[in-house]
């Protein structure tokens, strides 16, 4: 395989490649925390969702929340990954006020989910594969608040003990676009599965972005040998909480690292922080300052042993995932890859479209959903779940077009009224008398009147066929837009003697 030029970055001294891996922390959608019965809901008052276990009171013990394990397994299956029937929780030891136990319970050595792979679509239509190294369950820490008082810090333990899935990718991404597309695809998958709400503002999803650069060709050598020496030293930028920021981090870090290396410097393996305001990253702690976490198996918990039948039952209940959905939309409804991707990226949108398209013309349904509905929702700042028009209503509107009750043009007016009033289209059409006139007698009568009243134009149209449209407009005007356009065309042509 030859190097792909679009993946190369030009430096002063030659070409470079950037290699990216992501560690994504996704909060498990669950009412209760990973090891305590306390609520995991977002938005409670400070320290309202804190159990004795979360506050690490003496003698308190963790008990695994089975639902969180189920969510992790479900996610693993959605990532086409191996489910480890035997896994274990370790303690990661460090001191911090928002870590009451003095350790985080995490799966360091034996994660519940092993290797997997997902397909990621890029904006230019290319699809890449990104390997998943592992997914493990762990507890979140609480929150330290330093800006409430000049000399004190406050601690909110509501998040303490909330279940997180850490999803670690292989270093398979080669540009900021790929990293962003992967992160976005991951979000789509967990939202589809209902295992994480993907809400980045509330911190439900955040990424640690690992970036390194190497000379052109290094990645290929790494791919062939599996030897990391062909890649550069990586930096890890912590807690990046939007797709846009992931992109910025990769771009900034790649440039920075190339500059350092080209100036004869070297990259330190270190942890960095992203400054949202400046778009820059800065050192958080160097390798020398890195904690020795003293991982060891948590003796308060037994190994997590899964029944294969239980895993199978989760698999059987798995919803259709975006890739499968996209392919089905293309095959069943004849959509383009682009339209199918737009419609399948969000589960709510996909479900809406599915309901509209079922038993109808898929392309027509796709046009109405993507152009008219998404456009109107966008303009009014509404989500698909808040749509004033239900999928059933939009389906009825399409039926009215298909059976000739209304024209496409009238349908747009009806749509606008529906969006305002949430009324059924049939009712709107009926009450406002918008039914299409297909009675040729009525159309003929209107045409005869127009021909009689406009002898000059009748003469002219024979010389200039382009003026034919003027007649059509007049007929539509006379019939209040309700005349069947095809019938108007036919009768006009006949009466005016043009082709």
């Amino acid at each position: 395989m030859t190097q792909e030029p679009r993946k190369l970055l030009q430096g002063q001294t030659g070409d470079w490649e950037v290699v990216i891996g992501l560690e994504v922390h996704a909060q498990v959608s669950s009412k209760a925390k990973l090891f305590s019965g306390a609520s995991a809901e977002y938005g409670a008052g400070p320290n309202e969702n804190v159990s004795l276990v979360d506050a690490a009171m003496p003698g308190m013990l963790p008990v695994i929340n089975k639902y969180c394990v189920e969510q992790a397994v479900k996610t693993g299956l959605g990532l086409n990954a191996k489910i480890n029937l035997w896994s274990r929780f370790d303690r990661k030891n460090y001191f911090y006020p928002d870590l009451p136990q003095g350790y985080q319970i995490s799966q360091y050595k034996e994660p519940v989910v092993g290797e997997g792979e997902i397909e990621v679509e890029l904006d230019d239509g290319e699809t890449i594969k990104v390997g998943i190294e592992r997914l493990h369950l762990e507890q979140d820490a609480g929150k330290s608040i330093h800006d409430l008082a000049p000399k004190e810090s406050y601690v909110d333990l509501n998040r303490s003990g909330v279940a997180l899935m850490e999803i670690v990718s292989r270093p398979d991404m080669r540009s900021s676009d790929e990293a962003a597309a992967y992160y976005s695809k991951l979000r789509t998958i967990v939202r589809y599965l209902g295992t994480c709400d993907g809400n980045m503002d509330e911190g439900s999803m955040r990424a640690d972005v690992n970036v390194s650069v190497c000379r052109a060709g290094g990645f290929e050598k790494f791919r062939e040998t599996g030897d990391f020496k062909h890649l550069g030293t990586r930096t890890e930028t912590k807690n990046v909480n939007s797709i846009r920021y992931v992109k910025q981090v990769v771009e900034y870090e790649a440039r920075r690292q190339i500059e350092v290396l080209e100036a004869g410097g070297k990259i330190d393996q270190e942890t960095r922080l992203f400054n949202v305001a400046t778009g820059e990253t800065r050192t958080m702690r160097s390798k020398e300052e890195a904690h020795d976490y003293r991982y060891f198996p948590d003796p308060d918990l037994l190994p997590l042993v899964l029944d294969p039948a239980w895993v199978e039952s989760i698999k059987a209940k798995l919803p259709e995932l975006p890739d499968a959905k996209k392919h089905r939309f293309m095959e069943a409804y004849g959509l383009s890859s682009y339209d199918a991707a737009v419609l399948s990226v969000d589960k709510d949108k996909a479900d809406y479209f599915d309901a509209v398209a079922k038993g109808r013309d898929g392309k027509l349904a796709s046009n109405w959903v993507t152009t008219e509905l998404f456009g109107a929702l966008n303009k009014s700042g509404k989500e698909i779940t808040e749509s004033p028009i239900s999928a059933a209503q939009l389906g009825s509107l399409i039926d009215l077009i298909s059976d000739g009750t209304i024209s496409g043009r009238i349908a747009k007016d009806v749509f606008a009224i529906m969006f305002e009033t949430s009324e059924d289209p049939a009712k709107i059409v009926e009450e406002r008398g918008l039914k299409q006139v297909t009675d040729t007698g009525a159309i003929e009568k209107a045409i005869d009147e127009i021909i009689a009243a406009n002898p000059q134009q009748v003469e002219q149209v024979k010389e200039k066929p382009k003026t034919f449209g003027w007649f059509v407009g007049q007929v539509m005007k006379a019939t209040g837009g309700k005349a069947n356009p095809a019938a108007v065309n036919d009768i006009l042509k006949k009466k005016l003697g043009v082709d």
Binding site: L52, P58, P100
Partner: protein, 492 residues
């Protein structure tokens, strides 16, 4: 009834049921004994008002012919058990002023069965010690003294308050915990019966953790029957402890009547260690012949990995402790230093001032063995050996039903005698740690006295969850030994 406190728990229970004595009388009698025995320093806090309240409630139930298995029986509670709204210290400065809002499962079980709490018993700080000298509240003094001597002796540790208070009749029985021998060694040094049940038999929920994979609660009582009654009330499955085992709790007392005829008793040669007093060796041989006379079959067995048990224990236990004790950081409860300028100095000074020397030593050892570069050589290896020790026991238990050993390598020693030599102190656990590493049940039974008149115990180990067999064997030793010596009440 002037001698209520001389009744065994079983007899007191029966007397209470028969309304021959009231729980309040018994409670007051014990409170009076406690008051007189201050010099033993067995209690960290005495909860007299609470005790009388509970006693009255028990009497009301007993009057109606109601009440639990040990209704009205006054107990001492090791200060490692969290007790609701009652100061709980683990004998550490760092838990200053800590009153839990919750009750440990084991003590809840005891209150469910009607027991009365007299107070919280002294112990080694965080249960780390073999002589009760690491307590922030000062050492407990053994009620036993060597013949003709006034020297203060250790009641053993870490459950020294439990063993001393039971020996001195300051309570009918006591709760204790055993991580490496902390129930059985103190029992041996005070002529009491100490039971460490199978790991998972008693819930650890609400017990201040020392080493999670080794900690087990159990009773210290005056005789085998009392310990069986206590264990039945303490034990049970608890969904709040993931390591608790879901199986029914047998009526241990009912098992006591059974015969030991035909039981195979293993005698492991590796428990004959260098420098062990001849009296202990002699007592062990005596135990063997008692059981033989009772109809048991004696089998010489070999447990060659025994010599690794202590090193393994002193890697695993400190490793877990270093992590378990990280929560004592001065942020949410307990002691906080006044001397700090930032978060790091707050941690350092709180923990530096709040923990005693032995606790710090174990935290340092534990931190060291878990550190990058040392983890594989220490912790991982220790875990592998631990597994082998477990397998070795299971193998031995294919041949035998019980294993008989001494409980402790020495009788009670003088306070201050070993404090300068931690390794010598650690050797106290040499016969007991194996049961913790393998999760086996073990009991120490008083069997005799040495030349100075100080008590010595014998230990029986059984297969996991075969406490009933163990109690039967212990009863046979108790009967044969006919041990009925008591310390002179020099403290009263």
């Amino acid at each position: 009834m002037s001698d209520i406190t001389n009744l065994t728990l079983a007899d007191l229970r029966d007397a209470l049921k028969a309304r021959k004595v009231s729980s309040l009388e018994a409670t007051d009698a014990y409170l009076s004994n406690i008051e007189k025995a201050k010099s033993l320093n067995a209690f960290i806090s005495v909860t007299a008002d609470k005790a009388r309240e509970m006693a009255k409630a028990s009497d009301a139930k007993l009057a109606k012919g109601e009440g639990g298995a040990i209704e009205g029986v006054p107990l001492g509670i090791k200060d490692l058990f969290c007790t609701q709204e009652v100061l709980t210290t683990a004998a550490s400065h760092i838990l200053d002023g800590f009153k839990p809002t919750y009750e440990s499962t084991v003590t809840s079980n005891l209150w469910r069965d009607g027991a009365v709490m007299l107070g919280k018993l002294n112990m080694d700080e965080f249960a780390m010690g073999s002589s009760n000298e690491t307590s922030y509240y000062g050492p407990v003094v053994n009620p036993w003294r060597a013949k003709g001597e006034n020297r203060q002796l250790t009641p053993g540790g870490s459950s020294g308050g439990s063993s001393a208070s039971v020996a001195a009749h300051l309570c009918a029985a006591a709760t204790a915990t055993d991580t490496g021998g902390s129930i059985r060694q103190p029992a041996s040094l005070t002529a009491t019966v100490g039971v460490k049940p199978t790991y998972g038999r008693c819930s650890r929920w609400g017990i201040v953790a020392f080493a999670s994979s080794l900690d087990q609660a159990g009773p210290i009582a005056r005789d085998v029957r009392d310990s069986a009654i206590m264990l039945r009330s303490m034990a049970g499955y608890d969904p709040k402890d993931s390591t608790s085992v879901n199986r029914p709790v047998p009526d241990y007392e009912a098992a006591l009547g059974g015969s030991v005829k035909g039981l195979k008793i293993g005698v492991p040669k590796e428990y004959r260690i260098d420098g062990m007093p001849a009296e202990i060796e002699k007592l062990w041989a005596q135990g063997v012949s008692w059981l033989k006379d009772a109809g048991c079959e004696i089998v010489d067995i070999s447990l060659p990995l025994t010599k690794y048990a202590l090193p393994v224990y002193y890697i695993v236990a400190p490793a877990e402790a270093s992590s378990n004790l990280a929560r004592y950081d001065g942020i949410r409860y307990g002691y906080r230093t006044k001397n700090y300028k930032d978060i790091v100095s707050l941690y350092e000074n709180t923990r530096g001032e709040g923990f005693g020397a032995e606790v710090k030593r174990r935290i340092l050892i534990g931190t060291y063995v878990l550190s990058a570069g040392y983890y594989d050589a220490y912790y991982i290896r220790a875990q592998k050996v631990r597994k082998k020790i477990f397998d070795e026991f299971l193998d031995a238990f294919k041949q035998v039903d019980l294993i008989l050993t001494p409980s402790s390598p020495s009788a009670a020693f003088g306070l201050g005698e070993m404090t300068d030599d931690p390794v010598q102190m650690y050797l106290n656990d040499v016969f007991t740690v194996t049961a913790n590493l393998a999760g086996l049940p073990g009991v120490s039974v008083p069997a005799g006295v040495d030349a100075k008149g100080l008590p010595l115990g014998l230990q029986l180990l059984a297969r996991p969850f075969e406490e009933e067999t163990m109690f039967k064997g212990a009863m046979a030793i108790e009967k044969a030994a006919g041990f009925n010596a008591r310390p002179d009440e020099w403290w009263a």
